[in-house]
């Protein structure tokens, strides 16, 4: 094998390639329900399996355990709890961010699963696992039916 230490791959004979392709992802049957309720009503919805009784968030079209169709939607409101969180100090290139960004997994009472999202209106050292939080939505005119229609979760007032 070649054993010289090479710190920059471009110092070898090479060909620079590119694999970019663009995509448009449909949100699906359960996703349309979920994102429409966020966009129109500022509500987070789960889906309840009428066979096993489990409420899943994000909602699904089918229960992955019973393999039956989920037809019952459950309004979970906009309040949840921090299940775990991280404080991100660097961007994807490893460069230091001007301000760290907090991301958390938010769980909701009566449902299994949760959403990952940003935390806001709080300092990194103030965040705790178990902390009650609530969603802060973008103004209705700016909502597009995406997970970013929620700006972030903030401590419950």
């Amino acid at each position: 094998m070649a054993t010289e230490k090479i710190t920059d791959i471009r110092h070898m004979l090479h060909w620079p390639g590119h694999m970019e392709t663009d995509y448009i992802y449909t949100q699906g049957i359960a996703g349309e329900k979920f994102f429409s309720e966020i966009k129109e009503n500022e509500k987070i919805y789960g889906g309840r399996c009428n066979h096993c009784g489990q409420v899943f968030v994000p909602p699904r079209l089918y229960c992955e355990r019973c393999f039956r169709k989920i037809a019952e939607w459950r309004n979970l409101g906009s309040k949840g709890v921090v299940y775990t969180f991280t404080v991100v100090y660097i961007d994807i290139d490893g460069a230091k961010l001007d301000e760290p960004i907090m991301y958390a997994l938010i769980t909701f009472d009566g449902a299994e699963g949760g959403l990952i999202h940003r935390l806001g209106e709080i300092k990194p050292h103030e965040v705790q696992i178990g902390m009650p939080v609530e969603a802060v939505f973008r103004p209705q005119a700016e909502r597009t039916g995406s997970i970013n229609d929620i700006r972030y979760f903030k401590p419950q007032s």
Binding site: M1, A2, T3, E4, K5, I6, T7, D8, I9, M12, P16, G17, M19, Y23, Y25, Q27, G28, G31, F35, F56, V57, P58, E64, Y83, T84, F85, T86, V87, V88, Y89, I90, I92, D93, G94, Y103, A104, L105, E112, G113, G114, L115, I116, H117, R118, P124, I129, S146, I147, N148
Partner: protein
Amino acid sequence: MVGKKRVAVIGAGMTLFRRNLKETGKELAWHASKMALDQAGLELNDMQSVVMGTAPDAFDGVHMKGEYLADGAGAWRKPYSRVFVGGGTGVFAIDAGWWHVASGQFDTCLVVAEEKMSSCYPHPAYAFTTIFDPIYSRPLGVTLIWIFALEMHRYMHRHGIKKEEIALVSVKNKRNALDHPCAQLGANITVEDVLNSEIMCWPVQRLDISPTSDGAAALVLASEDVAKKLTDNPVWIDGTGWCIDTTFWTNRDLYYPRYVQCAAQMAYKMAGIKNPPKEIDVAEVYDPFDYKELHHMEGLMLARKGQAPKLTADGVTQRDGDLPINPSGGLLGVGNPIAAAGLMKCCEIFWQLRGEAGKRQVKGDPRTGLAQAWGDLMQYGSVVIMRS
């Protein structure tokens, strides 16, 4: 074992693990495959089937890279398949090779794993951004490291584990890697070095993480009849297991890898293992992050939930301890060319059980070893149990 043929490992090989290797992925696969065949004393013509394990196409930058790598893996005009379960691929590849031979369909199988991550420029972190759910996760700008940070934090919180306890894994594995001739990051570091390294996504710091690597590894599998003709020292594959948990990672415990437990139970049952910590002599546990070694030891039931840090602090998992974990140096020390790193662990168990691990040889006379990998979106467990 009724209805299944017994399967042996009779040769192993691997390349250097490095960032920016000059060799193409095919050339790396060929190096490792040739070394494994040489150790088995066989030629490519003796191989009746080939299994290639290699992870996302986006690393090498060739869509259908299983097909692209086939000739380097010795698949010319042979029954060939590529298997891919993310980071779990390396150990799943030997599981897949096992069923090729155990089924009786083939007497021999060449199992190869390859990854050339440095082709993804400037950093393979970009390839990871497209592994997440496109509507619930990717619009948030999710990166691989902060997903693991969320899991690590939950594990620490659930059991009251401190960063200092986790850092001991990185210290141990990088030191072990100093004795591995293929290692990328062998080093003598301290707990303080880990705690003082750059904070990336708290609680993950620079020295908690394995590197970006290029590399390949390979094993030669043979049926009992063939193996006994070729070697006095076969290593038997006595247990295989694999399992996937829900694709919604937000619906998992995070503090405990149920999918690893499920895969381990399958393998232990097949191998007749009732008391894993007593019966396993040496284990290569998947360690792309230091906390994952602890997390996976618990999933493998080598430690009770929340107790892996104590075993580590007590020196039980050192190379001269009662349950050596990652005597190779693991992904943290040897390097992490994803699929190849998992198969490197199988190579290490093979060499350990044959008494061929040189300066890395664990004490005593290990007879039963385990290798494990973990993958897809933090949801896949693959396990193999080998005996000499």
